[in-house]
């Protein structure tokens, strides 16, 4: 496809052609209308003038017969103007009038007639158009009274040429403008297409050009760029994940293999084998857990698992989870408090929401344990779970008094497999918060980490359902009996 045919096939160009045709037709109609009406008006004026002349001449004829008529005609012929007179004898010869000669055709006709006549002008004789009324007078004489209507012919010519020129200029501007606009647009589209091709070839850093005009193409490019940024981020995530999988799954696999190998080399027999095998199973279980968590996150991020969403009370889920973890917290010397709240409804998958909250509480208990808390600041080893309604969001807030997460690391710890150095000694896959973040995203919410001064404050916000009318009074406030001494 050549550049020109490509241009002609653009929507813009076709649109400009269509508009050109429409405007052209409209212009023709308008001009024709003006011309027509002008002609009608002029014709009426013409007839009126001729009628008036005739009336005057008829009076003269009635007064003094042919002689007076001829005199009057001769008189009037002296005054310059566009009126034309001619009195012919029965042979057709001129008796009086300002027309030098008439054609045979005119002398034979009767009534209104249009004809051409010649008159002297600068540099010769010119032929002009005229309109006249022809009367037969008694005795074979004829009276011709008319007016020069060459101006009308001129008007028609002017209008015709105006129309032609106008249409021509319009077509020129239309096609030219269409060409320029299309070329401009086509150039931008081509730039977009070129960028897209480089992106398809694997260079995800490419971005569509934006010229800053804020027009529709710019806005489209902006949205597409956001999409590209998200895709790039996802791809980077995927790459990072595969690297991490390689590391975090291969390391334990290798450990497992080493252990089995070492056991095989052991000469001591069954008890050693048994122990090695048991450790192998433990290691395998750990691997399976990591693998399951990874798959869950991947599925959540792909948008799966949203089918089991139902309207449920976050307060009840929080209560359940707090109750599930309360003994563990107590065992570790941590007070787990679930703030009593009114029911807050969200549309969520109970299992996923439960797991997300459980992960947060689990983390808080692990890292908010007394030996980890800042010594000497007097803060109680305490983990609390609360729910706040903030605008349209329900916020589930889990706080601890542990070492917290330094602000530069707060976004990073949400990524898969990221574990801060301080937490390496605790068992865990580094996938817990990633899973919570994925659950939050799936439900249209978000996860953010804040400073609890001291400690960590994790906020899981989910869009709340407006169920104000359904909040039945007297709902049991959870949490009260959970306070461990």
């Amino acid at each position: 496809m050549t550049a020109l045919t490509k241009l002609f096939r653009t929507t813009t160009f076709r649109l400009s052609l269509t508009y050109l045709a429409l405007f052209g037709a409209a212009a023709v109609v308008a001009i024709f209308y003006i011309y027509w009406n002008t002609t009608v008006l002029l014709t009426r004026q013409l007839h009126d003038t001729i009628d008036a002349e005739l009336k005057g001449l008829a009076e003269q004829y009635a007064d003094g017969g042919l002689t007076q008529l001829v005199r009057t005609v001769a008189d009037r012929s002296q005054t310059p103007g566009s009126s034309l007179y001619y009195v012919a004898d029965p042979q057709g010869h001129r008796v009086a009038g300002n027309l030098t000669s008439i054609t045979q055709e005119l002398s034979n006709s009767l009534g209104p007639v249009e004809f051409e006549y010649s008159r002297p002008a600068e540099g010769g004789i010119e032929t002009r158009l005229a309109f006249a009324n022809v009367f037969r007078l008694p005795g074979g004489y004829r009276l011709i009274v008319g007016r020069d209507i060459e101006d009308r012919r001129e008007l028609a010519r002017v209008i015709r040429s105006a129309m032609l020129w106008g249409l021509g200029v319009m077509a020129l501007f239309g096609i030219g403008g269409g060409y320029l606009v299309s070329r401009n647009l086509l150039a931008r589209i081509d730039a977009v297409a070129a960028t897209t091709r480089t992106i398809m070839e694997g260079d995800l850093t490419g971005r569509l050009p934006i010229n800053g005009s804020g027009d529709e193409l710019d806005r489209l490019s902006q949205s597409l760029n956001l999409m590209l940024a998200r895709i790039e981020q996802l791809m980077a995530g995927l790459r990072e994940v595969s690297d991490n999988i390689a590391h975090d799954l291969k390391t334990p696999l290798n450990r497992l293999r080493n252990r089995v190998e070492a056991a095989l080399r052991e000469p001591y027999g069954e008890p050693t084998y048994r122990e090695a095998l048991e450790r192998t199973i433990e290691e395998a279980d750990g691997l399976i857990k990591t693998f399951n968590a990874l798959l869950s996150i991947a599925r959540l991020e792909a948008g799966a698992g949203g089918d089991n969403k139902e309207s449920l009370d976050v307060a009840a889920v929080v209560h359940d989870v707090a109750e599930l973890y309360e003994p563990v917290a107590e065992e570790r010397g941590i007070t787990l408090r679930a703030e009593p709240v009114e029911p807050v409804f969200v549309r969520a998958d109970r299992q996923l929401l439960g797991q997300a909250i459980a992960n947060l509480v689990d983390n808080a208990i692990k890292y908010g344990a007394p030996e980890r808390a800042h010594s000497g600041n007097g803060s109680e080893p305490e983990v609390s779970v609360a729910i706040h309604a903030r605008g349209p969001m329900a916020e589930i807030i889990v706080t601890d008094r542990g070492p917290g997460v330094p602000s530069p690391d707060r976004d990073r710890v949400l990524d898969r497999f990221v574990r801060l150095e301080a937490s390496r000694s605790e068992p865990g896959s580094g996938l817990g918060l990633s899973l919570v973040a994925a659950v939050a995203r799936l439900h249209g919410g978000a996860l953010r980490l804040e400073d609890n001064r001291p400690g960590l404050r994790v906020v899981l916000s989910l869009p709340a359902e407006n169920r104000a009318l359904l909040n039945v009074a007297g709902h049991q406030t959870p949490g009260a009996e959970l306070r461990s001494a």
Partner: protein
């Protein structure tokens, strides 16, 4: 217990059969859905172990056909698909329990034993008795040797589930699923702590412990005198 294993992977199937035999169960085997369906129709099994993806006739379809014919043999679905919605689909198709591969054999065993017990009349009884421990489901009262024991609502449900499966091994995941109705894997030993709390309430002041830990598997409640 007579078990039918419908599983297309030869090695898994023979491992399951050998392990089940070691536990004193009779295990039969079908390598595809069609054969499995025919066997399940023809014989009275206590439990079916059905792989979800099978040649000829898919696992869920096998269970669906059986249920349509009003054959209510309890069925455990084995699947590599482990997400909540997969589980829901499996249970909706008529499966009674769902276990994700890879699994521990102890988990599988505990689950099929629990399933086989479902048919027993004890299921619907209002009073569970293990040794001198009595749980009354109607009055929500628990006594040991006639002395009342105060339990939190969740502890009551935990004990109720354990006593319903008295003499059987109950795994931690089974407890989480049936007592808390959560199907995820809590990273910490939350269930163990709940069980040890319960144990301190029912066993602490008594000579014979009733609630036992089964190493590498889970818990069981039984009267050790028997």
């Amino acid at each position: 217990m007579r078990v039918l294993v419908i599983e297309d992977d030869q090695e898994t199937a023979s491992f399951l059969r050998r392990a089940l035999k070691e536990q004193g169960h009779v295990a039969e085997y079908a390598a595809d859905g069609q054969t499995g369906l025919e066997l399940a129709r023809a014989n009275a099994y206590d439990v079916l172990i059905v792989d979800r993806m099978l040649p000829k006739c898919d696992g869920l379809a096998v269970i669906g056909s059986l249920r349509a014919e009003e054959i209510g043999t309890p069925a455990l679905i084995l699947s590599a698909l482990g997400e909540v919605d997969d589980r829901v689909k499996g249970l909706r198709a008529g499966g009674d329990d769902y276990l994700t591969k890879p699994y521990a054999f102890s988990e599988l065993l505990a689950r099929i034993e629990a399933l086989a017990r479902r048919k027993s009349p004890e299921e619907g009884s209002t009073r569970f008795v293990v040794g001198d421990l009595v749980l009354d489901r109607l009055s929500h009262k628990v006594t040991r040797a006639g002395e009342p024991i105060m339990l939190q609502p969740r502890e009551f449900r935990l004990l109720e589930y354990l006593m319903k499966h008295a003499g059987q091994v109950v795994t931690r995941t089974m407890l989480l699923e049936n007592v808390w109705d959560y199907h995820f894997d809590p990273q910490t030993n939350v269930i163990d702590v709940h069980v040890s709390r319960l144990r301190s309430k029912i066993d602490k002041n008594f000579a014979t412990p009733l609630l036992h830990t089964v190493r590498g598997a889970g818990y069981t409640i039984r009267d050790s005198a028997h």
